[in-house]
Symmetry: C2
Subunit: 383 residues, 2 copies
């Protein structure tokens, strides 16, 4: 019935991080032959790693692509110089390079979103100190400055009050593609994320809007669905996700990180064209997890229901505290006190600040499940 090989479905993920690790689960459930091109031995996704190599090398990725029906990603860092020749040679890459290009360059992303008329913070392309200072002065004496390429989880992002705060970047512009991106520092009441998925053939499905709580620029807690979101906000965010997915040609899972500004505006902050930390709650919280949906989407299979499986879900990240505690030693204490929490650890070596796991709890009371998740996290973090 399918246009594909009828008896096997083979998906290859580039990158051996926790996202590829968590894709392994729906691959097991659906008997999808799931392979990972990992950066190194002993990666988080080592169980599915069939090749170890450098994704910057065309020959390495070409060899890997030859073992699967479709290539997808654990991260957005595979260079265009690798992806474009593969696509030209007929390799099925999802999301395709022309979508990923916007994830790899935040300046191009802003330009494209602007062309689509989508709501964003004010922004400007910065190529010199004068332009930056003018932008800062026009926005209350402060701006968010970003390197267009290479940033994530707070890296490559800086709050600046003068071009002097960015002298190092301005003096080394070539390393960042020749420009920086200045953005209005949004006075927001909270951060939101809208997760969705889209198939190459067009089907689109969105999960409920969630609230994300950041600490030190890294996602700390996700509340699903977002508490007290108005109908107007829900309509806007669902429409934004659909416009981004269709306008940028994204396939697979798309996460749109959003600001809810004090003045009521909903503004696009960042995009991720892959399963995302804001969607980990879907493993237990949704009928279809983001990892299953991603595999279905990149295979152009029908998407699953994105309904919640409980009234509420909460996710709390487990960030490394030192180079010893990998959270496993505290399982007995955490599990005996918190029998309803679902612990996910990523098999990574311990390191302070590293995303090493998360906890999800679902239930009818948002307050109760948040307390449970935080309680279990506290036990694990104590070690």
């Amino acid at each position: 019935m399918s246009q594909q090989n009828p008896a096997t479905l083979k998906v290859g993920a580039i990158g051996g991080g926790q996202l590829a690790r968590m894709m392994t689960v729906p691959a097991i459930n659906l008997a999808i032959d799931f392979k990972v091109l990992a950066e190194a031995e002993g990666s988080s996704a080592a169980l599915a790693a069939t090749q170890v190599g450098d994704y910057n090398q065309l020959d390495v990725v070409r060899e890997f692509a030859g073992t699967v029906d479709v290539i997808t990603f654990d991260h957005e860092h595979v260079p265009m110089a690798v992806l474009e020749p593969l696509e030209a040679a007929g390799v099925n890459v999802q999301p395709p390079s022309n979508a990923l290009a916007f994830a790899q360059n935040k300046l191009h992303m802003r330009q494209k979103l602007g062309a689509l008329g989508l709501p964003m913070p004010d922004w400007a392309q910065i190529e010199d100190a004068h332009t930056l200072d003018a932008f800062i002065n026009a926005h209350g004496g402060v701006a968010i400055l970003k390197t267009p390429i290479g940033g994530y989880d707070g890296k490559g992002v800086r709050v600046v009050k003068s071009s002097e705060d960015a002298a190092d970047w301005l003096n080394n512009l070539a390393a960042y593609g020749g420009s920086l991106l200045a953005e209005e520092k949004v006075d927001f009441v909270r951060e939101l994320a809208q997760l969705s998925a889209r198939r190459p053939s067009g089907e689109f499905a969105a999960w409920p809007l969630v609230q994300t709580i950041q600490e030190n620029g890294v996602c700390s807690v996700v509340l699903a669905p977002a508490p007290n979101a108005s109908e107007s906000v829900l309509e806007q965010t669902a429409q934004i996700a659909k416009s981004v997915a269709e306008g940028l040609g994204v396939t697979g899972v798309l996460a749109v990180e959003l600001f809810e500004a004090r003045d009521g505006r909903i503004l696009i902050n960042e995009l991720a064209m892959r399963p995302h930390n804001s969607g980990h709650f879907t493993i237990e919280g949704s009928v279809t997890s983001q990892f299953e949906q991603h595999l279905r989407a990149v295979l152009d299979l029908p998407l699953g229901s994105t309904e919640m499986r409980a009234t509420h879900a909460v996710m709390v990240n487990l960030l490394g505290v030192d180079d010893k505690n990998n959270f496993v030693q505290a399982y007995p204490a955490a599990l005996v006190a918190h029998p309803t929490v679902k612990i996910h650890t990523y098999g990574k070596g311990a390191r302070a600040g590293r995303k090493m796991g998360h906890i999800t709890v679902v239930g009818d009371s948002a307050e109760a499940i948040l307390a449970e998740a935080k309680g279990a996290a506290a036990v694990l973090l104590r070690g």
Copy 2:
């Protein structure tokens, strides 16, 4: 905090079937280093298979045991001659050989359950035609005759109306351990299953009682929780599971298959000392799946909540229809029509009658989810 190595948890499963395959999922979630000793390359649990070899060979299993903290099982067929020397040498085997011995010999199981005063069909040890005919005559002219060792899924079980119906077995008694087991053919209104788990240190937890529907001696549908079960039945079945687990020294997951007789008696049919087909619904239907609970139990970690995650769950088995249809080719048709079903396929080659997968649906309406599951199964079985 744990007595075990604090930073890693290593579990080894003997047998590469779908049960080991499904244990791989919670092992990924909890960063348990999960290894499988598979019978052959390309097994259902191949992703986690670190060794291929014959579990009847002590040296093979000893080598495997040396790579993990605890040995557990995908099936109950590892001989005592392998397990007992390993335990004597200090290998941690869960469930232990003295529990598994009862799963390996249905006559010993009946004797032990009798000693514990647990409710069963009438039964007798049969060593000759005369005794069998006497048992048949005393039970309305019919009996269920079983080979005490080696039977499963209807194999090694026969309805007999005379010793002549079992002449082949009676003439070859040595192959079955010297005796056969005759049981009363229970006039039952339905079959039930009580799933539970127990840790070596004693903690016990039971899931809700379920109803199982067999076709041709193989489980076809599971309804969770069992519809219209009286308080009295629920109390009895939970107590039976606890008594069996404690009385036989079972650790890990235990499935007790039960008859609900027309006269109201609850009678123990079969036992399985491992995750069981009657518990597949727990993957989506319960806070803690039987596969996660089994790993936690054999590691002597605290058990998780066995609460339902929805009012109802239904599981429908996918049995092979021929040597071509592995169900994957019908995913597009099944998934587009049934966006809430969770399909599990086991990566097995197609063969008529083979357990190759299952479908679970959860929801508030028992009728609606059964219709969804059966509808999706019909599409997949059509191929």
